[in-house]
């Protein structure tokens, strides 16, 4: 075994250390420690002459370990690691003792401070004995980016990245991109038409030379790690020849098989072959195989579309033979922007959703006010009557421990938007039932004030129930919204023609599976968890995987776009660097010891360890690109097979036992 030759360097830091700690005594003491061949003191170790001392000693005295006792390692450990490296040693053969922040600056008894410094130096010397050379590695980063979700977040991120001439694969589950925003009529607080601002972006995405669109597709499997992900995407069969379809929509017009239109929130019908909405990108049809009689009868029934399609895009072959296709992609970074689901208010029976025709969700009302929607933009009841009064119920499923504890952030504002549209389009009396009005964005409070001016009746109270049981003549034939007016301390009954439930935004029902595919954790509320809520809001525990938009938490369009651009920025910054640096002080497995029990795999927040079969036995294997070196796996390892490089048990116990000596 190599002889350990340690050099110890004590910094005066001017007088900030030397004024309290007896540096001469300390230096003399350090030299007496085992394996220490030289010990020196200097006014400023971090200065060039100070660093030169170390380099010179490494060469002349053959040092193979170095300890500097000075300020906090958080300040100068990188400096001295560099010095040691410049001197010809591995930078990890270095240990730092903090005798300034942790000693001379907090103690004034010189004798005790000197004693403490001796302890800290001794601990560093004993610890550095066990240090080993470690190598940080750079691996190349694949510049291609995968974006999941073709809503506003995914589109924005894709455009930002593609505009920098980087290849983006945009995967969307539905037949068209656009997401929830395509279903919205107008956007608060400016009231610009959602379609007008969205469809140009959709077009840009559709035509972008650097964006490859994979609609009607879902990611099935992700392997690898930052810089080098391998992704399997299932491209579902559209049952049409995509290259031939010209989007003429003749097939849909003639198709006799109907079902509720997803895009119209079930308020209108679509056919078995359909284009989801007029501005769909790509503007090609898709066949709902479950509904298509031709497919279901194995070609024995119907087939109207085949006859009508002049372009030859629909043929017996496409309908009967086309199957899902698995596309394999290789990318360096991934942005997950899978959006949200609207909370289903029918689980709150007292609100009568699905029981009363004129109790609607926000998304349904969006379609009602939309000129292209099922009522051609007229606010009317289900049976076509004009609406004279509307109740808007806030916090349906939000801020309620029975459903979702969190605030959905957008409901106050879209509730106000509905109030405005109800006033403007139907001149209706509007009653807005709220708990708190949360109007925090740019122009939002002003919008609220404007709605007050427009004469909206704001009722502070969470609605208790919605009923059609009239108690007075005025209530006959109406829906009655029952609540406390908490500001008056009185129960209130408001008869209205229509009720809009401002339903919560909730995590996608399949968020758990999506989280597993991309190794993203979820909060208790089901949304994806960011790396740090304040300082790393779009990163996830998995390096190279970022999140944007409502999959992370409910948010409005401006925040979503900002977050999408932030996620794109993260990806672009990696692409611009071109490589990924791997942490050196990470977990390592002694395969002779490891049982492959999987406790490490279970506890790791980054999915770095994986139990694999090697030579017929199970053993844990650590993915170096994923491991952050936190050490929790080593704590749970029952056998002692796992060690954290640079923080091994030997190293820390050497330090501990050195501190308990003398």
């Amino acid at each position: 075994m190599e002889e350990i030759r340690t050099g110890v360097y004590i910094c005066h830091c001017g007088l900030t250390i030397a004024g309290v700690v007896n540096v001469e005594e300390l230096t003399e003491y350090a030299e007496s420690l085992p394996n220490v061949v030289v010990s020196r003191e200097y006014r400023y170790m971090c200065s060039d002459p100070g660093q030169d001392l170390i380099k010179k000693d490494i060469k002349e005295l053959g040092l193979n370990r170095v300890v500097v006792a000075s300020c906090s390692p958080r300040m100068h450990e990188p400096t001295f690691r560099k010095t040691v490296e410049d001197g010809g040693l591995n930078p990890y053969l270095y240990e730092h003792a903090n005798i300034r922040e942790h000693c001379s600056w907090v103690h004034d008894d010189k004798e005790l401070a000197t004693k403490k410094s001796k302890d800290l130096v001794r601990a560093a010397v004993k610890r550095v004995f066990h240090h080993e050379s470690l190598v940080t590695r750079e691996i190349p980063l694949n510049p291609n980016v995968l974006v999941i979700g073709g809503g506003i977040a995914g589109m924005q991120a894709a455009l930002d990245i593609a505009d920098g001439h980087n290849k983006v694969y945009l995967v969307e589950r539905d037949p068209s991109i656009g997401g929830h925003m395509a279903q919205l009529d107008r956007t608060f607080p400016t009231l610009d038409c959602s379609e007008c601002i969205l469809t140009p972006k959709m077009g840009d995405v559709g035509h972008h030379p650097f964006i490859e669109l994979l609609t009607y597709s879902e990611v099935e499997e992700v392997s690898g790690s930052i810089g080098d992900f391998k992704v399997k995407v299932r491209k579902k069969a559209r049952h049409i020849d995509e290259s031939k379809c010209i989007g003429c929509n003749l097939c849909e017009e003639k198709c006799p098989w109907k079902t509720d239109s997803e895009f119209e929130a079930g308020m209108a019908k679509r056919k078995a072959v359909y284009i989801p909405f007029a501005q769909a990108i790509p503007n090609i049809a898709v066949v709902d195989a479950d509904l298509c009689a031709y497919i279901q009868s194995d070609g024995k029934k119907c087939g109207a579309c085949i006859k009508l399609c002049d372009a030859g895009a629909i043929t017996p072959e496409t309908l009967l033979k086309q199957t899902d296709e698995i596309v394999e992609l290789e990318v360096g970074t991934i942005i997950v922007a899978t959006g949200y689901d609207q909370f289903d208010p029918s689980v709150i029976p007292q609100y009568g959703y699905k029981k009363y025709d004129n109790v609607l969700t926000g998304l349904e009302f969006e379609r009602i006010t939309c000129a292209a929607g099922p009522t051609e933009g007229k606010i009317v009841t289900k049976d076509g009557r004009p609406v004279e009064s509307i109740g808007i119920v806030h916090c349906v499923g939000s801020r309620d421990e029975n459903y979702h504890e969190y605030c959905s952030r957008v409901c106050c504002m879209y509730g106000l938007k509905y109030a405005h549209l109800s006033k403007e389009m139907a001149n209706a009396d509007v009653y807005e039932f709220y708990i708190d009005m949360r109007c925090f964005g740019e122009g939002y409070e002003e919008f609220y004030k404007r709605l007050s001016e427009e004469g909206v009746n704001f009722v502070r109270g969470k609605v208790a129930r919605i009923t059609d049981e009239a108690q007075t003549d005025e209530e006959q034939g109406k829906l009655i919204v029952v609540s406390e007016d908490t500001l008056l301390g009185k129960m209130i009954r408001v008869p209205v023609d229509m009720v809009i439930l401002c339903s919560a935004l909730e995590a996608r029902s399949d968020a758990e599976n999506v989280g597993k595919v991309f190794n993203i954790n979820r909060r208790a509320d089901g949304f994806f968890l960011e790396r740090h809520v304040k300082l790393d809001p779009v990163a996830t525990p998995t390096d190279g995987v970022y999140i944007a938009g409502c999959c992370e938490a409910p948010r409005d369009i401006p925040d979503t776009v900002a977050q999408a651009e932030a996620a794109a920025g993260k990806a672009l910054s990696l692409i611009s660097k071109g490589t990924v640096t791997l942490e050196a002080a990470i977990s390592t497995v002694d395969e002779a010891i490891c049982h492959g029990c999987g406790r490490c795999e279970e506890i790791c927040a980054f999915s770095a360890p994986n139990v694999v079969t090697k030579n017929g036995t199970l053993v844990s294997s650590v993915n170096e690109a994923l491991c952050k070196g936190c050490g929790s796996c080593a704590v749970v390892c029952p056998t002692g097979a796992i060690a954290i490089k640079h923080f091994t048990q030997d190293e820390i116990l050497a330090q501990v036992s050195a501190l308990t000596e003398a």
Binding site: S72, E101, V106, A605, C630, G631, V635, I644, F647, V656
Partner: protein, 143 residues
């Protein structure tokens, strides 16, 4: 209780929060008793029970295990794991008859230099009241 007894404390501090808090206490020149020696770990979740047991074997009078608050962790959930380790360890140490206050678990954020100094002050006070660790006799006997 010994007159003039000065307890010996080892503090395992996570690199990102509590170690930084101790640095901040230094930069702010907050004075606290020199009875503590800090061992830097990357994460409080990295603290193995053996580190604590070995320190007690060595005769220290008190141990602090400190790291980030639950939501600040650099490694997502290190503090939760640390809590589990410390809680289990506490049960073991209780059977051994060690006073609960000799093992302290704290969450001290990087900004909480004041809290760090306060924790050390309190520990020194508490440990002075408790007197030397029952394991100290052994070290001294062996020495």
């Amino acid at each position: 209780m010994m007159a003039g007894f000065e307890p010996q404390i080892i503090a395992f501090c996570c690199n990102w929060c509590t170690y930084a808090a101790a640095d901040l206490a230094g930069t702010s020149r907050m004075h606290y008793p020199p009875n503590v020696r800090i061992v830097r770990v990357m994460c409080s979740g990295m603290v193995d029970p053996i580190y604590v047991l070995k320190a007690f074997e060595g005769g220290v009078d008190g141990i602090l295990v400190a790291g980030c608050h639950l939501t600040d962790c650099h490694y997502i959930d290190g503090p939760v794991k640390c809590d589990e380790t410390v809680n289990k360890l506490r049960e073991v140490l209780h059977v051994l008859g060690l006073e609960d206050k000799r093992l302290r678990r704290e969450m001290v954020a990087a900004s909480e230099g004041v809290l760090f100094a306060q924790v050390i002050n309190e520990m020194v006070e508490d440990l002075k009241k408790l007197g030397p660790s029952p394991f100290k006799a052994k070290t001294e006997a062996l020495a």
